[in-house]
Amino acid sequence: MGDLFGNLQLGFSVALGWQNLALCFVGCLVGTLIGVLPGVGPIATIAILLPVTFKLDPAGALIMLAGIFYGAQYGGSTTAILVNIPGEATSVVTTLDGHQMARQGRAGVALGIAALGSFFAGTVTTVIVAALGGPLTALALLFGPAEYFSLMVMGLVFAVVLARGSLLKALAMVLTGLLLSTVGTDLESGQARMTLGLEALIDGIDFAVLAMGVFGFAEILRNVETPESRDVVRGEIGPLLPDRADLRRSAWPVVRGTLVGALLGILPGNGAVLGPFASYTLEKRLARDPRRFGRGAIEGVAGPESANNAGAQASFIPLLTLGIPPNAVMALMVGAMTIHGIIPGPQVMTKNPDLFWGMVASMWIGNAMLLVINLPLVGVWVRLLKVPYRLMFPAILLFCCIGIYSINNNVMDVALAAFFGGVGYVLIKLGFEPAPMLLGFVLGRLMEEKLRQALILSRGSFATFVERPVSLGLLLAAAAMLAIAVVPAIRRGRDDVFTE
């Protein structure tokens, strides 16, 4: 325990440097801004700002990027409450009761409880990240290639189970992502694979380019197509601070939401997206009068909002301890780390303790900053939300173009992102979800490396994956999750969670 406090002390000494404080503030502010604006997500923003971080020191760069990520979770809820559209995918559930509260003139209380709940969740999760960092890192050092491979298989299966709609399609998307990741030079033999003779593909497809195309541009395409209807709350925002009765009602939902969100967030395969749904369902089940939900129940805001913040922060755990990015934002973090010569994984904690603990400490500072900057700025966000989409999308386009160009100062990257934008549009139209594909792509290279290593060690026998107990356990867990998702009754339940 004393070790933990010593480490946190080191972390705070790094995070409290004036430069890192400023970067943390900028990250949180930018994150909130893009969280508020629907149609601009943290993925596109981090990709745009990636080149800017080249010149910073690694700790500062990661502190800022992390701030953008969890800041966006804060901002997303503001839009969900005030406009009834989720600013971010994770704040979908907040629209249900949050916007109802706003209609009843209690927008301020909804925003206030969302901020307080998120702050609580952020604080607890910071401690969880700090406490789990050591043990998980020790565990990761015991992992051989076979265990790593099986762990990633489990992550991908989990992503498939979490995807909406057809399992078959989600599985196909994961495989397509893995296939895309094999494009480029083969690391072992040096052969160019499926590059079609294009120089731009020799180093493989840049993740930022793919993500920007499939998430950034495709999102604009979809939004321009559907005519916009925004229902910005016009009336009073009302008082920001919840009263005693509100606090009493929200206290337990916040605690439960934090635990649910943090638990799901730790899992590889982007469990964090499920957090708010799980928390909402849980609160509704536990409520004495479930009919209040959907009509402005404060528990329906407090729980999911805490869960989404906890999940966002907990998703750093697989990245920092195992070196496995659980979602697209974390994959961009990998990019930011490798640019500075840091390979994410268990060795980060021993080789760069200042970076690891500095980032953990900055999360808590960032959460405190968000609490302070978010509430007074509500008026600004409301005005910003009145900017029509016809002006917003050309602006987003330009920012995205400048961002992609700046990553490698290469116009081919920009053209390639446009191509993937088209691909993303077709995928959405055909009912495919792009998220599993992106995760497949993210894990593809590492999986291939580990698969090859494992098979070299076992002299070509696949039995190695089931003979080693840890690997077998992970694969069984993956199989169980898949089996559960196929069972019709649970399948229906899963659809309910998503449609609620």
Binding site: P51, V52, K55, S166, L168, K169, L171, A172, L175, T176, L178, L179, T182, D186, E188, S189, Q191, R193, M194, L196, F217, I220, L221, V224, E225, P388, R390, L391, F393, P394, A395, L397, L398, F399, C400, C401, I402, Y405, S406, N409, V411, V414, A415, A417, A418, G421, G422, Y425, V426, K429, L430, G431, F432, L451, L455, I456, R459, G460, S461, F462
Partner: protein, 163 residues
Amino acid sequence: MTPAEGGSGDEPGAPLSDRASRDVAAGLVLVAVALFALWAGADLPLGTLSAMGAGMLPRSLAVLVGLFGVAIAASGWLSAGEGLGRWSLRGPFFILGSVVVFAATVRSLGLAFAGPLSMLVGCLASHETRWGEAALFSVALTAFCIVLFRSLLGLPIPIAWFL
């Protein structure tokens, strides 16, 4: 809905109009992707399981993607489901076009010109665009981007060909 209508969904060979044409198309697209990958990686050596060649994984993945494609297309053919839905051409054409315009002009003309140009091409995608407003906004935003990205953040992006 009458019972007769409700029952038709699960019978094989549903009426053509009821078939999940979206899934059929989705499956065929995957098959095409798989065939393309097999063709593009045809020259790569497979190797053996204990010493995998560069082509082993791409080819196995391509085959799997193809099989999933066949399965999705077949299930779409045999059951009722969503149709292809409405596809618009104007949005994708001008928005992706605007990105291509940016790629084509940022080196030769510089951001000062590529910015407004690509934004205005993008504006063609929406029928809500008001042109006076869009022109002014594109120039103002480009100026803002030049100050932000070039002057403040120091990214080496070309501003104009004569600078």
